[in-house]
Symmetry: C2
């Protein structure tokens, strides 16, 4: 696979793989049947990012908010997350799953990945949000310390660094509760296509757009 | 002034009035000369929102990050914020300025507005971020209480409610540190034009777009 050259790349990319249900419905399938088609796109993103030399990628797996959906949907997106993380663990990656494990919604199969682990040659840091919640993340800092100067280093997602570029598939332009502290300065790029319709060009277009954004960190 | 009709309106709109400096430069002016042209647009947004019956509007005045800019620029955007708030206080509004007052960067002229005050008939809640910082906002909760269940109600911006629609002028798609908790679920709409080039149509287009967004609050 050949990848284009870019003059300036983000260090850390976040992926919101939205639109699985709308993709399924548009094909006359049941909503939950979309999620299974979201696994291969994630592995393609992984491949491209390794080739480009991106340091860190964070995938929005599912949030605590998402678990309010019907059981058949919940089972489908949880299964997709499990399979995605297991597939990534067969590749070169430093894997970390972040989410609330004190809940039945957190799949036991992913517990071993909640401690950062190097697979193969490492090569790229991959974070995967599983049963993640913004409120859980921020208030977690209180359990660790009452020292407010250490808040950012004590949140549950403290091992996930600042996000430079957030790419969301499925045409919505919002964070849906993803990592409020790491996204305060992120450039957000929206792909109109649904996630199961992923094409490498979506990612390339986002990176091309990102090159022309100034980096001010709010300044 | 006639305003269009919408089938579904956001309860709370946030405004990031970006592009003042690029607007000035494009006209051969000095960067800081743009800010003065950002006052009237804010008053127009106020007028339209009152007519539409919007309950709450929050303006991104300036952040602690912004104060790292040159002194001439800083003076210019601080002056614009002072004038904007003073102008709004001559209208019907419940005004609240939110920001770190324990700093020379906070203009004394705006201290009286840091307590919510009703001017005229009230009619609309207007928040104005002045020397605001996301880190200051979140860690403020620690000073108030060590009870993590009360974190959200103890942040410095606790009187500002969840933002439904965030509109940013100046073509960038990012939050620049604006209210990380209130924006976790916000729909973000980007206007390519610079803020001093504000036209009512920008706001109408954003509201039209917002009507077609589904409201899931992350679910």
């Amino acid at each position: 696979m050949e990848v284009p050259k870019f003059k300036r790349l983000p260090r850390h990319i976040a992926i919101i793989p939205d639109g699985n249900r709308r993709w399924a419905q548009a094909r006359g399938l049941e909503k939950h049947e979309g999620y299974d088609n979201g696994i291969i796109p994630g592995l393609k993103v992984y491949d491209i990012c390794v080739r480009l030399g991106i340091e860190e990628v964070t995938f929005f797996g599912f949030t605590q908010d998402n678990t309010k959906r019907s059981e058949v949907q919940r089972k489908a997106f949880v299964d997709s997350c499990i399979k995605s993380v297991q597939e990534l663990s067969k590749r070169d990656a430093e894997l970390l799953v972040v989410g609330n494990t004190n809940s039945d919604m957190f799949p036991k199969e992913l517990l071993p990945y909640t401690k950062k682990t190097k697979f193969g040659k490492g090569k790229i840091k991959i974070n995967f949000l599983v049963n993640y919640g913004w409120y859980w993340d921020l208030t977690y800092a209180y359990d660790n310390s009452s020292d407010k100067e250490k808040m950012v280093e004590n949140i549950a997602s403290a091992d996930i660094t600042r996000i430079d570029l957030l790419i969301r598939w499925g045409a919505r332009c919002r964070l849906s509760g993803m990592l409020p502290i790491q996204t305060v300065y992120s450039d957000i790029y929206v792909v109109d296509e649904m996630w199961p319709d992923f094409k490498p060009e979506h990612l390339y277009n986002a990176l091309e757009w990102y090159q022309d954004q100034d980096i001010t960190l709010g300044g």
